[in-house]
């Protein structure tokens, strides 16, 4: 009798759990305001002679179930002795980037209207971004469509050269489609068009060219990079997430990227998420990225630029390269009622990224003939430690 009573209790509990989730699902599928939560994060990137770390704080508060306001404070403390810095002959430098964001979201029927502003400031670069987006549910809340636009206005400066100041204007157009396909499968399709216009160079970086194109043994020289003043890019991404029969999910995504500088890129990711003992969540991820080089990229040019339209770049981010990322995320979350707090979580995330360049040589390794230096590669570790409170 006790066993039957226990089974009935378990079934009843499962039904209540399912009903609660179903009610939540009804809300989750519909446009709703973001959760009221605050996050405190410590982040650290370490790789290729570059260390970037700092804090980030995100606070979100909702009002009258129709308005949500959030603020974010973020800091990057950069210490760089990257291969670009070393080969240019400069010494290791440190700098700080500070970013502030303010955003608001308004819920109106089945629509969410959002707007925001971000300011990013460092000693030689300032970025101001204004953004706006509208999100709407359709089709019994199985489909959600989002349109977003952002305008970026950047100012580029050069430390040690007070005369130098240039501008960049950026326009981002985003279109997002989210679709519930089955009771266990959801898909997302995102498209983004970005246009940049202005000074797109890095004022510190140089390309290299042979001192004498007829005599490679004569060595090479450096000259300041010459970039186009515009760039337009398109990216299309498909994401899938599937709920497994046990308390776990698996996901996959693919993104295709192309731009008018001649770069095309493929990004693929697979993930597995598993809940252990109700409170622990483990994520395992693998990401692969590959891109082709820009039309005006070369590790070693034969001769210097002839005029301002004769573009030259030796930025490894514009070269032909690939990288792999393996990730392990671990999160512990507990519900409790203490004053205004409903639940709390601590999350640790670790990513290891392996970069392999196919046409960017390591100039710290000497060679008798320019261009014969070994190819560059490096590994980076990314760590995030996040404390979250929901209220």
């Amino acid at each position: 009798m006790q066993r039957v009573a226990a089974e009935v209790a378990v079934v009843a509990t499962k039904r209540i759990f399912a009903l609660t989730l179903a009610l939540w699902a009804t809300q989750a599928a519909a446009v709703i305001l973001p959760e009221e939560r605050s996050d405190l994060m410590y982040h650290r990137y370490d790789g290729g002679g570059v260390t970037v770390d700092g804090p980030s704080v995100l606070v979100r508060k909702n009002f009258k179930e129709t308005v949500s306001v959030s603020g974010n404070y973020y800091v990057d403390n950069v210490s760089s002795a990257s291969i670009d810095v070393i080969t240019s002959g400069a010494s290791e430098y440190t700098e700080e980037r500070t970013e502030y964001s303010l955003a608001a979201t308004y819920l109106y029927g089945k629509s969410l209207v959002s707007g925001g502003y971000t300011n990013s400031d460092e000693s030689d670069y300032e970025a101001n971004t204004y953004y706006f987006s509208v999100s709407q549910d359709f089709f019994g809340d199985l489909t959600n469509l989002t349109f977003g636009y952002s305008l970026g206005q950047d100012t580029v400066r050069q430390n040690g050269n007070a005369e130098f100041e240039e501008d960049i204007d950026r326009n981002n157009f985003r279109l997002g489609l989210s679709q519930i396909l089955t009771p266990r499968l959801i898909a997302g399709l995102d498209y983004e068009l970005i246009t940049d216009e202005g000074y797109l160079n890095n004022p510190y970086r140089s390309y290299r060219h042979l001192s004498d194109p007829l005599d490679p043994g004569a060595g090479y020289q450096f000259a300041q990079e010459v970039y186009p003043a515009t760039r337009t890019s398109d990216a299309l991404a498909l994401r899938l997430k599937y709920a497994l029969p046990w308390r776990a999910s698996t996901g996959g995504s693919y993104r295709y990227f192309t731009d008018d500088w001649g770069i095309s890129a493929h990004t693929a990711q697979v993930s597995y998420t598993h809940v252990l003992y109700d409170d622990w969540t483990v994520d395992l991820k693998y990401r692969y990225y590959q891109q082709s080089e820009a039309d005006f990229y070369s590790d070693l040019f034969l001769f210097p630029s002839q005029d301002e339209k004769d573009y030259r770049a030796r930025d490894k981010e514009l070269s032909d390269f690939s990288n792999h990322t393996v990730s392990l995320y671990l999160s512990y979350q507990r519900s409790f009622n203490y004053r205004f707090v409903d639940k709390a979580a601590v999350t640790f995330q670790w990513d290891r990224i392996f970069f392999d360049y196919d046409n960017f040589t390591d100039l710290t390794q000497s060679s008798d003939i320019p261009g014969q230096e070994p190819l560059y590669d490096f590994e980076a570790d990314v760590i995030k430690l996040v404390f979250t409170l929901w209220y």
Binding site: S56, E192, F257, V382
Partner: protein, 77 residues
């Protein structure tokens, strides 16, 4: 694929998806969505950490955009 052809492809896929939805009844009822409501089904569970991860890649890769999620740009250079 040229940039203009790529945009035509995106427009075609979007328009086809929206038109195909017309006249079809929603096939997943609200009471069938308990699995989808689980937080582990979100594409980006931790917005602050996810945003930082996108930032790490944007600063070190040529590709950009369509990472999902809202928000504005960043001074990534």
């Amino acid at each position: 694929m040229s940039t203009i052809n790529f945009r035509r492809f995106v427009l075609l896929v979007t328009a086809t998806s929206l038109l195909s939805a017309c006249g079809v009844e929603p096939w997943v009822k609200p009471y069938e969505r308990q699995h989808l409501a689980d937080p582990i089904m979100q594409f980006d569970r931790d917005p602050i950490a996810g945003g930082y991860t996108h930032h790490v890649y944007q600063a070190r890769e040529g590709a950009r955009g369509a990472e999902g999620g809202g928000g504005g740009g960043c001074g990534c250079n």
